[in-house]
Amino acid sequence: MKIKLLAFGQIAEITGEQTELAADVCDTTELLQLLYEKHPELKSKSFKLAVNQKMAQDVTVLNENDTVALLPPFSGG
């Protein structure tokens, strides 16, 4: 399954800003496990997920071509 992965702020410094992911994950929990394996530094970081520009509450099912964004704590204003 193809997933578009975006990252921002200090998380982008770890994962890069934009990646195309071809992975066998069916929800955000599985995606997170995969990301923690690839980038162990993420475990100590605080961030949330948005799926297709909406904040993901709990476990969210992922579909082909979804965009998942890794969002560190917002600090606008």
Partner: protein, 147 residues
């Protein structure tokens, strides 16, 4: 086909005080307004271990931010009796002492403008996918944290 008007929130660089004055001036033609409430966020020269904040560099998740600001607008207009609402946020580099956030609400009676303005600011801080990277005077950087 109906298209919703998108309001341009993001401004490249700091928000000039002349721009704020023009916004106020424009509303003097709206004779049913009795109160304006304005919030301005200004970059502070906070001191950290590694030096002082000289500037903040703002980035955003643009597509999501547009939706978030659109919801904040719609929900605030539904909740308060507002005549006007304007929100501007800087992207890119804003020096200490310069303005990076400008929220402007107007209403017939003061309670609506005041409560709406405060609520918009709180929601932006919590909900808008915007990040500030503090550029310290020793050239190191630190990610800003909202309180």
């Amino acid at each position: 086909m109906e298209t919703k008007k998108k309001h341009q929130v993001f401004v490249e660089g700091p928000i000039p005080s002349g721009f704020i004055a023009e916004s106020i001036e424009k509303h003097s033609k709206k004779l049913n307004i009795g109160a304006h409430s304005i919030f301005l966020g200004q970059v502070r020269n906070d001191r950290h271990e590694n030096g002082e904040v000289g500037a903040i560099e703002y980035t955003t998740y643009h597509a999501m931010a547009e939706e978030v600001f659109h919801h904040i607008r719609e929900e605030t207009f539904a909740k308060y009796a507002l005549t006007c609402m304007h929100i501007y946020h800087s992207l890119g580099t804003v020096q200490a002492g310069e303005i990076s956030l400008f929220v402007f609400t107007s209403s017939a009676h003061r309670a609506d403008a005041i409560s709406a303005c405060e609520e918009i600011v709180e929601r932006i801080k919590k909900e808008a996918p915007v990040w500030g990277k503090e550029i310290l005077t020793d050239q190191k950087t630190k990610w800003k944290q909202n309180t």
